[in-house]
Amino acid sequence: MAELYEELGLTTEEYHRIIKILGREPNRVELGMYSLMWSEHCSYKSSKRVLKMLPTRSPAVIQGPGENAGVVDIGGGWAVVFKMESHNHPSAVEPYQGAATGIGGIVRDIFTMGARPIACLDPLRFGDPSNPRTRYLVKGVVAGIAGYGNCLGIPTVAGDLYFHPCYEGNPLVNVMCVGLMRTSELIRGVASGEGNAVILIGNRTGRDGIGGASILASQEFDETSASKRPSVQVGDPFTEKLLIEACLELRSRRLLVGLQDLGAAGLSCACSETASRGNVGMRIHVDRVPLREADMEPFEIMISESQERMLAVAEPEKVEEVQEVCRRWGLTATVIGEVVEGNRLEGFWRGEKVFDLPADSLASQGPVYQREAARPSWQDEVRRLDWDSLDHPGDYNRVLEELVSGPNLCSRRYVWEQYDHMVQLNTVVYPGSDAAVLRIKETGRAIALSCDGNGRYVYLDPYRGTQIAVAECARNIAASGGLPMAMTDCLNFGNPEKPEIFWQFTEAVRGMADAARYLEVPVVSGNVSFYNETSGEAVHPTPIVGMVGLIGTIGKRRTIAFPEPGLNIVLLGETYEDMGGSEYLFALHGLTAGEPPRLDLALEKRVQTACIEGIRRDLILSAHDCSEGGVAVALLECCLAGGLGARIRADTSLEPLVWLFSESQSRFVVTVPDEALGMMESLAKKKDIPYTVIGRTGGDRLIINDWIDVELERMRRVRESALERLLA
């Protein structure tokens, strides 16, 4: 066993712990189950303690972390369910299938709770697009998300896409799904009721992803990964679509006690988690699991990660009805076990007992580590920036053009047009604005969805950078007229066993916790992805935030588009010399350096409330936050979205380059009609926020002092064609 446990990724200490739990040596099946369930990916053994810092409650939160997804009340008897997850390593091996099965997995997390999935989001990070491998990955990942998500009929309505060489060998493919349900229809991933049947629904079990959870997700990624290829999983969106419909029908007919999707660690995870949550035991007849390959061993069956499978628990007298519903949807539903008294998870194979262990020892009593954290020795170095020694261009038109035709700020149309972002008829603000807005047909309200996470800021200052991710995401929601309600996250970091990585992680979570608490957006679900490294080099620490906001009346939604000529353009917030970590430095000087932008959470909150209130009172007709590329890029985006120019007079003592491209936080560009200007000004005063009328909408050019003068049509062509050209 000694060699085997090491090969499976368990430490000697962990192995002894297993012996102590069982009071004997584990057999091969048990060892396999422990190795997966105690892997970083499934057990959160390095992150658990740190994550305790996050605020998880608010009056609207129905279900926080701990279930398959978070649930938040949006009024009128309805709730949204959402979560984000990573599929980084599978996507690096096979971009199409990796991304596709990523969507499949996160969508299952949502309908497991009883909710109909209504939207997906896809935050993506890749290496330099000049590398052919990067282009292959981007195209494969986007096609995979499209291939799977479109088939399911779930609109992918937002996401983001950034390029930095640090993601070269280890792209980030995070996916978020949002579902909608009646609050009364919540299903939990709980087994209970002695004698109840345990039913496996969906695809047959094959050798997919065996070793996937531990090998692909919990070890560093290197050249030898190619040899691990046979574990690649192929997605079957058609079966998933049938599963959605069948499970929602089972929910509506109230035929289930509990429902759990099968993801990492397959049956081992689903059985132990449901049993553990329900404080019951479970008996599994492993030989009843329908197989794709006849010669599979119990060990393989218990840890297979074959996709498109669900585990349901139902009362014995309902089993036939459950099977009938599944059959109608063309799915097999096989009773593979039953709920028993106690806490043991037992497995039988042709009459023989093949495993017998306490369910919680797998699901919740795994090892927990306090990893060592140490501030990296290079941290101060990268924060230094000698601004004056750089050769700054004097042609601001050119700078603007380079920014908006560069990989990070050009239009993402090429991506989102490959996604069906309209199906279900809820999308009332399409991609291309700050947040996507979905109407809730049943209540007349709407929700705003956005995701953000600037890895460069976090690299330079994990604490502040992560605060900014939360603040910016909330700002996107506010610009759309939404009140931020709750968030999810995906924390993408390197190897947590390295003290400097763990320091980044701890600082980032602390930043997230502080910002979330201050802005009153609890974290209701999330995911940690460690070991994002190639040949020992970690990616930038990249926490991604996904947020849901509520728009009380559907009419009070806003886009970034300048809606009509003759409006005042107002800048809410203040511009400082915040050039550290900026897109300007990265795109024009190839630098990731300096102090990231300052952030005053109190000001942030006041500016956001002013924006939301201004929209609610119809003082503000359009709104856009200033983020990467600063106010100049924000203004150009507003112009292009509305097909309408602007003339700006900036009265400032800052250098033009700084005023134009500084990435100071807590700012919005909004439009206000003349008759509302007075009220808007007093609102700003009341909220105690900086407020400047900087110009007027109109014409077909963007003109800023005598610094910038560009023709919109030309900029539109340049910005919209850039991504396809960069990826060609």
């Binding site: 091996v93 096979e94 299938q97 695809n203 094959g206 050798r207 997919d208 290829r229 046979p230 690649v232 999983q233 192929v234 997605g235 079957d236 058609f238 079966t239 794709r292 390959e293 074959s306 996709q307 063309g330």
Partner: protein
């Protein structure tokens, strides 16, 4: 070069053994529902015909590795035919 230099290569790409083949499964289901119960398995891959002037099988193999097949989930076989 003359017509005689033209060669045709047929490439047969099929899903690796053990890899899920949803297309094949769907076709199998459809054949059964049409009454073709004798069909026990269906695997669906790609049939690629290359017309090449003066190339070698070695080069075609390279093309398969790089572009035409996805070795992570697919197997392939090349047949050449002079034309």
């Amino acid at each position: 070069m003359s017509e005689a230099d033209q060669r045709r290569f047929s490439i047969f790409v099929s899903p690796l053994r053990g890899v899920l083949d949803p297309q094949g499964q769907a076709a199998l289901g459809a054949l059964h529902s049409l009454g073709y119960d004798e069909v026990e398995d269906v695997r669906i891959g790609k049939y690629i015909v290359l017309t090449v002037r003066g190339g070698s099988e070695e080069r075609v193999r390279e093309m398969c590795e790089k572009l035409l097949a996805n070795p992570i989930i697919e197997d392939y076989r090349i047949e050449s035919e002079s034309g």
